[in-house]
Amino acid sequence: MRTLARGQAVTGNAIEARGLVKIFGRQRAVDGVDLTVPAGSIFGILGPNGAGKTTTLRMLLGIVDPDEGTRTLLGTDHPLDVAKRVGYLPEERGLYPSMKAYDAIAFMGALRGLPLAEGRKRGRAMLEEHGLGKAADKEVRTLSKGMAQTVQLLGTLVHEPELIVLDEPFSGLDALNQAKLERLIRAQADRGVTVIFSTHVIAHAERLCERIAIIAGGKVPFTGSVSEARDRLRPQVRLETRSLDGPWRGALPADAAPEGHFWHFTLPETGVEPLLRALIEGEAGIQSLSIERPGLHDAFVAIAGADAARQLEEEARQETADA
């Protein structure tokens, strides 16, 4: 059991949502979402833009009310009642341009109950800690985009929340800052803080998350650990043979696809041993054989569909180009 900095034990679920529905006009933006986020875990909501990630997070936080369904946040179904224990970084970043960096952090803390003087003190210290000490007294409008994003992130953390909700936190960050943010998220989780974030980049979810929810078209077809998602698919076998044809071919599974001397197929339910025996007896001349566990990308394709996966890839590519 992990413990928060202030000594509170991390137990139970930080978030529980059942059958969340949000309708905008004629569109069901979120359509029956169930989520359970264990306290102290890093949880990712993975899906392409427009899948319903932001609306789901807004409903969880009480920014908008669901049309159907229930949700509890840190044990209450009135999320604003526990706003002081929550930190939120929205997808659309925003700060008052004329505020000084340390003051912007303090203001965000003050919104969530931290006394302004304490927020200013912590703001300066946090900026110093993140290499932005010299920017503390600068107005937000004069900061670079990356610096402003860091300021906003620090404002999300300044009141030492138990639950941090980040909407597309990696969006717009270069590789260096993405790595920094990953470290920061891990550090928060190590303190016992629950982190839930949305992303359309599979790699972030795969690297960081203990549990994920895959969302597409407003629905969540999968929620569980990354490992469980990958286990949805059978491992893939890559076989290289000396011989191109022979009686051994009959031993290959029906989905085996040739590519020169290579064969690709799904590992049979019976395992690899009977297949190996048949290949040897049939003199296939095994040059190499590898069994690969499917990645989260493959699992995403299988769970959310090829279209959603294509969209996800395109968005990730676009973002890399922008960064």
């Binding site: 006009g25 569109q27 319903g52 920014i63 929550v86 939120y88």
Partner: protein, 398 residues
């Protein structure tokens, strides 16, 4: 409630500091100076024209020979000093000269010069006596030149303002108060709108909405803007006071309101606050539905026009105290502050103001709650439905 107030305070403190310590606030303070300067210039020209057309007149009630001498002296003095510096005299016959000042009589006379040239008497209100005694003594002295060497001394008799003219005066005070109230309200309440739109442009609004109730965002913004408006008004009032002091007698006196000046001014501030909060909360509701400055302008136009209509309603009912139309203006929240200020000028019953302020405050809270609901429903959403129209937004299920 405590949390709501705490959050409102955080929002208000930020907004207030951001406005007060900005360069724009200095220009905001300067804002009314330009139209005021034009107004003063135009007023001074207009005043000169008015003085030329409508000269101060006194009734002259004396024996025929004395009247003739006084009129001749007036003509001679006017040639030497200028027309504006010597009051007009109108020879009249009356057994009771002070009756000429009664409300039912011709009210164009500022006073009555009566008695004889040897023993002249000036009848009028204390203010007019103080203002015109000197020039009239000069006139009498001139009229009796050759007959008496000593300078003339007018015996004076001050009369109270007639009840009719007092009512008339309070009506003027009521109308001036109303006009000032609507002017300040409309000038300042629009700033709430631009503030909220700025917030949306800065994309701060989601951070606020995730941390505190939207009601407290609206409440905080309203009170920050109200505080800023009151500071602006205090500055302008200070400047006006200096201008009035410098102008001396050049500024006309407003008749004292029924509640007395201190209470009337206190009620004026309270009703300004209510009118401002009512219109501001309505504008916030509109701002909650708009996403661009253009939309704000389009949506706020009917509200501004409506507010003018309510002012006209209150203004129309000012002479109809107790009649249904006036009672409606008092009860209808958007005209209530104006109608009640007019009542403060004309009636000295204080309990009704407590009741009205409570009623108006309840409407402010109701409008804030309504605006907050609209905001949650119409603004923070993603997906294709986000662009639906205002009517669809209003009709949507909560």
């Amino acid at each position: 409630m405590r949390e709501l107030l705490r959050a409102s305070w955080v929002i208000a403190r930020r907004d207030f500091a951001a406005i007060i310590f900005s360069k724009a606030f200095f220009f905001f303070l300067l804002g009314p100076v330009f139209p005021l300067a034009i107004g003063v210039a135009a007023g001074s020209i207009g005043g000169q024209v008015a003085r030329d057309i409508d000269r101060p007149s006194f009734a002259l009630v004396m024996a025929a020979s004395d009247s003739e001498a006084a009129l001749a002296a007036r003509t001679a003095l006017a040639e030497q000093l200028g027309e504006g510096r010597v009051p007009m005299l109108v020879a009249m016959q009356s057994d009771a000269p002070e009756q000429l000042l009664a409300a039912t009589q011709d009210t164009r006379f500022l006073g009555v010069l009566t008695g004889s040239l040897a023993d002249p008497q000036l009848i009028g209100t204390a203010g007019e006596i103080e203002r015109w005694q000197g020039p009239l003594e000069l006139l009498v002295e001139r009229a009796r030149k050759g007959e008496a060497a000593a300078p003339a001394r007018l015996a004076t008799r001050a009369v109270a303002q007639s009840s009719g003219s007092q009512e008339q005066g309070r009506l003027v005070t009521a109308q001036v108060g109303q006009a000032l109230l609507v002017l300040l309200t409309m000038l300042l309440a629009g700033m709430v709108l631009s503030n909220l739109v700025e917030e949306k442009t800065n994309k701060i609004i989601e951070i606020l909405a995730a941390a505190v109730p939207i009601d407290s965002i609206f409440l905080g913004k309203l009170f920050a803007m109200l505080a800023m408006a009151l500071i602006g008004i205090a500055c302008w009032a200070g400047l006006a006071l200096i201008a009035i002091t410098l102008a001396g007698n050049g500024v006309p006196d407003l008749p004292a309101p029924a509640t007395g000046w201190p209470m009337f001014l206190a009620l004026g501030v309270a009703y300004f606050a209510m009118a401002y909060l009512l219109l501001g909360s309505l504008f916030l509701g509109i701002g909650a539905m708009a996403t661009t400055v253009r939309e704000v302008q389009t949506l706020s136009m009917p509200a501004t026009m409506g507010q003018l209509l309510f002012f006209f309603l209150a203004s129309f009912s000012v002479t109809r105290l107790g009649e249904p139309i006036e009672l409606f203006a008092v009860a209808f929240p958007f005209s209530s502050p104006f109608a009640m200020l007019a009542r403060a000028a004309q009636e000295d019953v204080l309990w009704q103001h407590l009741l009205a302020l409570g009623w108006q405050a309840a409407w402010v809270l109701l409008l804030i709650r309504f605006g907050a609901r609209l905001f949650r429903r119409n603004v923070l959403k993603s997906g294709g439905g986000a662009k639906r129209g205002l009517i669809a937004g209003l009709m949507a299920k909560p």
